[in-house]
Symmetry: C3
Subunit: 208 residues, 3 copies
């Protein structure tokens, strides 16, 4: 669709950077959700850090495995580990109280859901998947982190307990797919998609 090679290269770099930024912010908020869930279950510092890393990277690792991008970015790039550990350490030493962490876990989980759904959709599109499948793919990617966190703590994953969870991820991914088809700027589309997904989940959490 791009007329000249130089533009294509520039655009791909932009999408790569965009995916990296969305990934790292998503990693941070999912790591917060994992660390808070671990603190709630009274794990020690090391358990908290491991759960931060697992919750933060499972979505991205799943995405990269499914599209054949190996080794996955979350393992091949030290920034993912650094961001996960930072979130874990902050949570462990700074959580004022264990009460009300349940709601906070869900809110950070919702933010990660939106960010990874959008990042996964972008990456799937850039690997040449068709739009419908790219959206499905973004949904699966977004769900990964929360599933890993809950399965490791032997809880039924939030995606099975919460109404609209998977649908919210799919809605965010659909925004990205439609925006890409209409050639809207990627950054704008990403912000709208992630905010839309987060907003749906936030309202569901507030109302329950």
């Amino acid at each position: 669709m791009e007329p000249v090679g130089i533009t294509l290269v520039k655009k791909e770099l932009t999408v790569d950077h965009l995916v990296l930024i969305l990934d790292l912010v998503g990693t941070f908020v999912f790591a917060l959700s994992g660390a808070m869930a671990a603190v709630r279950r009274r794990l020690d510092l090391f358990g908290v850090l491991v759960l931060s890393f697992a919750a933060a990277t499972f979505g991205g690792i799943t995405r990269d495995l499914l599209i054949g991008a190996v080794p996955p970015a979350a393992i091949n790039d030290w920034r993912y580990l650094a961001v996960s550990l930072l979130a874990g350490i902050i949570t462990f030493f700074r959580h004022p109280t264990v009460n009300r962490l349940a709601t906070r876990v869900l809110i950070f989980d919702a933010a990660g859901l939106g960010l990874f759904a959008v990042a996964g959709t972008h990456k799937a599109l850039s690997y040449g998947l068709n739009p419908v499948m790219a959206a499905l793919f973004g949904m699966v990617t977004g769900i990964g982190g929360g599933v890993a966190r809950d399965v490791l703590l032997t809880e039924i994953p939030v995606v099975l307990r919460a109404e609209l969870y998977a649908l919210a991820a799919l809605a965010g991914a659909t925004v990205v797919v439609c925006g890409a088809a209409l050639q809207f700027p990627s950054a704008l589309v990403s912000v709208v998609g992630a905010a839309f997904c987060f907003g749906l989940r936030y309202m569901a959490i507030r109302n329950s």
Copy 2:
């Protein structure tokens, strides 16, 4: 082993179609087993649909990841999603009663086990794995869906609780491997292999 290229192409197409059919039927029955397990645990419609999709596609996704066929068919082809959602919706609105669903979960699980064990073995053979490993591979593939369903519901997977579960999958896979070595028609071999696996599991369920 094929003398002319045209025959090779035709044969590969046939195996591809066969794997697709086995996959889609296996997807449907595993989705039914996942949906029924979710209904039994009183999840809402969205949870039921997610569990349908997870139980239905996990075996095939595992197989495709293990042989390097990425992106996996279950994500790259909309029919898997459609079949999973259909099974989930039917189960949610049509299950007459929650009673006795436990046995039905196991029976549809047994059907999926046989179908995926056979499909996994075919696909592994067509990717050039040797016969012994292809059978092992089919077994692992068949087990995937049930493990995903049970782990997500925080139950010990049926493969660990049920006698002969893994052996039944291995038996079905072995039929396929022997049939392929003897150059029997793939479709016939598949039906016999899947029926053999299902029969073994069905008798075990009846007797327990």
Copy 3:
């Protein structure tokens, strides 16, 4: 870094053999830990064998998927299956008593942790990952088997419950990375790294 091609080939073969040996011994001890955990939960022979195989091969399969070495060695090579089943059968028929198996599960788990952390680091280095990521990679690989075993039995994985678990794996992996950078003999480095990791875990188990 190698001046002549012939040396490179020879060195790669050596690392391949080393990884195979570390893998098979790690497979055996993780299979023992899986089998004992299954016996403790009073699973029958088939369940014990499946859990042996899952605990034994999950770390290596995870590693191979993450670096793109498909099909994974644990499925493509019959020796992994044979070693897993042997460990499962020995455990099922020879465990003198179910008491005190909890501690033994942890000790064999610690041995597997060290062996897979070292093997994973070697393989990651030979696939061209940079040293810091290779160590992280070895850590993730070592953790896999224990996570699979505990998740399948619906227990919180030992990596989340035990202090220093992930750090011990990282320490063993770091020994390998430093040894490789200093061009020390691979076999020596592997033994020291695995022993260091095992020693850290063993002390933690004794003190708890």
